[in-house]
């Protein structure tokens, strides 16, 4: 290792020799970096799963443009949109088709479980607005009080869910209404609900008697062939009232993710957690490096007297910083990987460590250690060769 580093650095790996000379200090520094890595990875993992869950909702829809109320910061919040704007939008030559989207959540109490279901309801005749994955099953929703349930719904017996077929539906009572789950699909759970349910608009309105068919949550549009979304959106914005948000579905999903991570308490808390992790790492590495500098002032003063230039000492400290980053990152990311799979099993959230995140955290670790090193170099000035005699 020493020989390899010597080749790499083109000089004696003094930093490496110093670090490995004091195993206790090295171990605590590596543990500190690893701990900071775990903190950051876990927070990012949860935050990432939140974003995946947010995007998954949009993936269940198959449309080009979405019309929402100005206050609809996320897909399940905000005011309703008067359906009349749908008819107005359809008069634009660029709009091929449109449908209202109704959303609402219900508590499903059964066998002592209290499950929160997020309902997505559309006209079952317009199968094209459902994702390709479920499109062929939509016909079953045309019957009243029939719904399709998310296979990933939390708290529900997996075997019961897997056994659901159109000829063997699961009939249950939700908010005083009898509902038959006649089919299943693979959705995904997020922070706001335990699972998704697809129904027809008619079934939805029976479950929510206070809601009106003329006031859906969103209006979905499909573009006519050869028409450009941006141009159509510009025309619609000019034509429709300004209290409507008119965006592509992709834009709406992006806005939703940004809102959830920056404006929602959960997003802010996890973002703060990442920051804490980074700070913990920087402080620990700074502590270790500056103690190490303080312990070697005499050696550094000697090297100064021998004619080593200031860059040499900066090099030693950065060498140490990078070694700590590397040695800490390996166990840190392995432990994080384990923690992620535990959390995934426990919560059902799509918590993953994808390559980009691993790479970015690695770069972040190097950068944070470099910052610590840079701060620790201030102590070098205390090494004065004139004090050696």
């Amino acid at each position: 290792m020493t020989a390899l580093l010597a080749r790499l650095l083109g000089r004696m790996p003094v930093g490496w020799l110093q670090l490995t000379h004091n195993y206790g200090r090295l171990a605590s520094a590596v543990a500190g970096v690893a701990f900071a890595n775990v903190l950051v990875f876990v927070q990012l993992g949860i935050m990432g799963s939140m974003n995946t869950a947010t995007r998954d909702t949009y993936k269940m829809l198959n449309a080009d443009i979405i019309l929402s109320a100005k206050d609809a910061n996320t897909i399940s919040e905000g005011s309703n949109v008067p359906r009349q704007w749908m008819f107005r939008a359809m008069s634009d030559p660029g709009v091929a088709d449109a449908t209202p989207l109704y959303m609402g959540s219900v508590q499903w109490k059964q066998n002592g479980n209290d499950t929160k279901l997020q309902l997505l309801a559309m006209d079952p005749v317009k199968t094209g607005f459902f994702s390709p994955q479920v499109r062929h099953k939509i016909v079953s929703l045309t019957l009243p009080d029939v719904a399709m349930i998310d296979l990933k719904t939390r708290q529900i017996d997996q075997q019961v869910l897997a056994g659901i077929r159109p000829h063997s539906p699961l009939t249950t009572e939700i908010m005083g209404h009898t509902i038959s789950f006649a089919d299943t699909f693979t959705g995904g759970v997020g922070f706001s609900a335990d699972g998704y349910v697809l129904t027809s608009d008619q079934t939805f309105l029976r479950l929510f008697p206070q809601r009106q068919s003329g006031a859906p949550n969103h209006i979905l549009l499909k573009l006519a062939p050869g028409h450009d979304a941006a141009a159509v959106i510009d025309r619609l914005r000019a034509d429709l009232p300004s209290d409507l948000r008119i965006r592509t579905i992709a834009q709406a999903a992006d806005d939703d993710v940004v809102f959830s991570t920056t404006k929602r308490p959960t997003g802010i808390i996890f973002g703060f957690g990442v920051l804490m992790g980074v700070l913990v790492g920087i402080v620990i590495v700074y502590q270790v490096l500056s103690t190490d500098v303080a312990d070697h002032l005499k050696e550094y003063a000697t090297f100064k007297a021998m004619g080593y230039a200031p860059g040499f000492f900066l090099g030693i400290i950065f060498e140490e910083a990078m070694i700590l980053a590397l040695l800490g990152f390996v166990p840190g990311s392995l432990v994080s990987w384990g923690v992620h799979s535990l959390l995934r099993t426990a919560t059902g959230l799509p918590i993953n460590m994808d390559g980009t995140v691993v790479f970015l955290v690695f770069l972040g670790t190097l950068a944070a250690c470099a910052v610590s090193g840079a701060v620790a170099t201030r102590r070098l000035n205390a090494a004065d060769p004139a004090d050696l005699f």
């Binding site: 021998m306 230039a309 005699f389």
Partner: protein
């Protein structure tokens, strides 16, 4: 003493003054020092404690900025010399300190190697280990190449320090009481090594010492008192 004709003196000091502290507490510790040291000589600087020997040595060795007067080291004026110029000059000097000042995390050979790496590593890397081993052989430590300083005796450590100071073939060797921390026998061995290598390579050596047994080895003995050079003798 060997002297190449026409070689300029490596150390030329004239009217050098130095103070410590500032304002009210400012005290002068070097008064109008003037001396010139011939190349290849072994000069010993002695005098009572507090007379300014270390101060003069650190000034000559570029470890302290010159305040007043002139000090030419290896042809370069140190009064007003830039930091990079001073760093470059230090590389041409071998320092031996009272304490060995070895790096505890580096083996004997690695410590000595540091005396070579300061000159850059281009192309010479592979030779450096051999050169370091050779320097340790000269101080009688070729069987301790891979020992950490913690596992060496005081005399052995000081010999490693001597090897480190000499390995880069410095033009000047400066030592401040190199034998103070050693017993008589080890001290004598260290100075004899210094003397022998100095003669072999024509190195100019300037050494501060209180040790009377060493005086006989010197070409010249300078005595300081209260910041002034009060006598300048040649023992032989």
């Amino acid at each position: 003493m060997y002297r190449k004709p026409g070689t300029p003196d490596p150390i030329v000091v004239s009217h050098l003054n130095h103070w410590y502290g500032s304002g009210e507490t400012r005290i002068q510790v070097i008064f109008d020092a003037t001396l010139s040291i011939a190349p290849g000589s072994l000069t010993i600087l002695k005098g009572p404690s507090g007379s300014g020997k270390t101060t003069l040595l650190t000034l000559i060795g570029c470890l302290r900025d010159v305040m007043d007067g002139s000090l030419r080291l290896l042809g370069t004026e140190l009064n007003g010399a830039s930091e990079p110029a001073q760093v470059a000059l230090r590389r041409r000097i071998g320092f031996i300190f009272q304490a060995h000042n070895l790096h505890a995390s580096l083996t004997a050979q690695q410590n000595v190697r540091m005396g070579l790496e300061v000159h850059g590593t281009h192309g010479n890397r592979d030779r450096y280990d051999d050169a370091a081993a050779h320097a340790l052989r000269m101080v009688g430590l070729d069987h301790r190449l891979h020992y950490l300083p913690g596992n060496l005796s005081g005399g052995q450590k000081q010999r490693v320090a001597v090897a480190r100071a000499l390995v880069g073939n410095p033009e000047i060797v400066m030592a401040d009481e190199p034998t103070a921390a050693l017993d008589q026998e080890s001290g004598r061995v260290v100075v004899e090594i210094l003397k022998a290598l100095g003669r072999e390579r024509g190195t100019t050596t300037l050494m501060v010492t209180h040790d009377d047994r060493i005086m006989g080895l010197a070409d010249r003995v300078l005595t300081m008192e209260d910041g002034r050079i009060v006598s300048d003798t040649a023992p032989r």
